[in-house]
């Protein structure tokens, strides 16, 4: 058996995805012009699928901070924090994130994926129990493979399903860690966090929440769903990423646990990888200042969510269950989703296509993510284009014809 034979099924599916002549998983941005526009295939294209929620990738102050850091401290750290030591900027960033949440401790990771992978797989071990939402991100599933703890899934966003699973554990010894996400990345829906926290309290379970898509977007100060739901103090571990709202790359975990820092010498995804480069740390510090100083960006983002979500809903598209910075558009099957995606790209609009097995319940989606600096004209144009394609492809019913002179 050849090394790649086991992937035969996936190879076939991947071939299908490329039948439109373009590979949605290998799109080349020839030039990125701004947070909302890039040149793709020689053409200026509207970007509505980049998780760039506040549009900070081109913020002049963030860019200047990064350039200044490169001049002062070089391009990279060339080693891990434990082997090569920390730069002052690493420590300052950790202090600033801890303060942002009002928590005592923070650890910064090189990517958000590593933050989830390392923290979750290390917090629980042999004899412990890890309970995860069925729609968890791949980084959470991968953490499950790396721990000796017993892993049990509960139904997506269903506190009673979690309750049943914690109840069944009875009085078995061992810690219980429940992993949730602030906003789920495919359909943009939020966890009923207050209810989940109540269940966790009832059974003495620890709560870890991943605010990757909700940092900046939710909460009066942009701390995420934990703040929005008023349960920040009940979330024992909050994980997040720098690669979305903060416009760079990296991850973090904050906690009040007095022994939290032991993770610095136990989490392998922290110990055995190079630390974030000075430019990234500097731009993230500046981006965090902006999140704190400009709450209007949050309002702009949600205004844009409303424009796109309500616009598409009014045309009859089937969408994710609620407003969110991610708007998932349901399409009947994989082929339609891929055809729709390609037609949008031809019309100069880039979104993500998400098809099984990467999606929950085998759904096929166009995944759109909003940016605070999208203009309403851009988004209204997008609704028009999608409506036209939807009608051509038979996803939407034809427009109701008005009879001239009719009453």
């Amino acid at each position: 058996m050849g090394l790649f034979d086991r992937h035969a099924g996936l190879l076939e599916a991947y071939r299908d995805v490329r039948t439109t002549g373009l590979d949605p998983f290998q799109i080349r941005m020839e030039r990125v012009l701004s947070p909302t526009e890039a040149i793709i295939d020689g053409k200026k294209t509207l970007l509505v699928g980049t998780n760039n929620y506040f549009g900070l990738t081109f913020d002049p102050s963030c860019m200047e901070a990064a350039i200044e850091a490169i001049r002062n401290e070089g391009t990279g750290t060339t080693g891990s924090r434990i082997a090569n030591g920390s730069y002052s900027e690493h420590v300052a960033l950790e202090q600033e994130i801890a303060e942002f949440y009002g928590k005592k401790h923070c650890m910064v990771f090189t990517t958000g994926y590593q933050a989830n992978l390392g923290v979750i797989s290390t917090l629980v071990g042999q004899g412990d129990f890890l309970l995860i939402d069925a729609d968890s991100h791949a980084s959470i599933y991968d953490a499950c493979k790396m721990t000796q703890a017993e892993v049990v899934r509960f139904k997506h966003n269903d506190p009673s399903s979690l309750d049943a699973r914690l109840r069944r554990l009875g009085d078995k010894p061992g810690n219980r860690l429940v992993v949730l996400e602030g906003i789920y990345s495919m359909l943009g829906d939020s966890a009923p966090l207050k209810e989940f926290v109540e269940v966790c309290k009832k059974y003495g379970a620890y709560v870890l929440i991943d605010e990757a898509h909700s940092l900046g977007a939710l909460g009066a100060n942009g701390r995420g769903l934990c703040e929005e739901a008023g349960v920040l103090d009940d979330c024992h571990f909050i994980v997040g990423t720098f690669s979305k709202t903060l416009g760079a790359i990296g991850g973090y975990c904050v906690s009040d646990d007095p022994d939290f820092d032991i993770l610095r010498v136990t989490v392998r995804a922290y110990m055995f990888t190079a630390s974030p480069p000075p430019s990234i740390v500097a731009s993230v510090r500046q981006a965090l200042r902006i999140v704190k100083a400009k709450p209007e960006l949050r309002k702009q983002l949600w205004d844009n969510v409303a424009t796109l979500y309500d616009g598409l809903a009014s045309q009859g598209f089937k969408l994710g269950p609620e407003h969110g910075p991610v708007v998932g558009v349901h399409l009947p099957d994989r082929e339609t989703a891929i055809g729709f995606w390609r037609a949008m790209l031809d019309a100069g609009i880039y979104v993500n296509v998400a098809v099984p097995p990467a999606t929950p319940n085998g759904v096929s989606l166009l995944r759109c993510s909003l940016c605070a600096v999208h203009t309403s004209e851009q988004l209204e144009h997008m609704v028009e284009v999608m409506t036209g394609i939807g009608r051509q492809m038979g996803v939407l019913p034809p427009p109701k014809l008005r009879v001239a002179g009719g009453r």
């Binding site: 069925a134 499950c144 017993e150 892993v151 049990v152 899934r153 509960f154 139904k155 966003n157 269903d158 506190p159 009673s160 399903s161 309750d163 049943a164 699973r165 069944r168 554990l169 009875g170 009923p192 209810e195 269950p321 099984p356 097995p357 929950p360 319940n361 085998g362």
Partner: protein, 98 residues
């Protein structure tokens, strides 16, 4: 949002002792939509191979069965289960221990 707890409702009405045949029957019912042609689903059916169900759908089906029979099957155990018989045995085993 509406939260329905079918798990608890089921367990209240489900007697503790339940025959293995009944468990197999229930599993086959859940697997029905993934049947290939007329080939019947039996205890010997290899779930991931003989049917059209993918790995994610298998895990979702297991979640339904967990609530039906009021047991939790850890993911590492699910990974070792291949046939309908093995799944039924696991459920029976966990029920006996619970």
């Amino acid at each position: 949002m509406i939260v329905e707890n079918d798990g608890i409702a089921d367990t209240i009405t489900l007697p503790r002792a339940i025959s293995r045949a009944a468990v197999v029957r229930d599993i086959c019912l859940h697997l029905g939509p993934y049947q290939v042609g007329d080939k019947p689903i039996t205890g010997k059916t290899v779930i991931a191979k003989d049917l059209t169900i993918d790995s994610l759908a298998i895990m979702d089906m297991v979640m339904e069965l967990e609530d039906r029979f009021d047991v939790s099957i850890p993911m590492s155990v699910i990974a070792e289960i291949h046939t309908v018989d093995q799944l039924a045995d696991t459920i029976q085993d966990l029920r006996a221990r619970g």
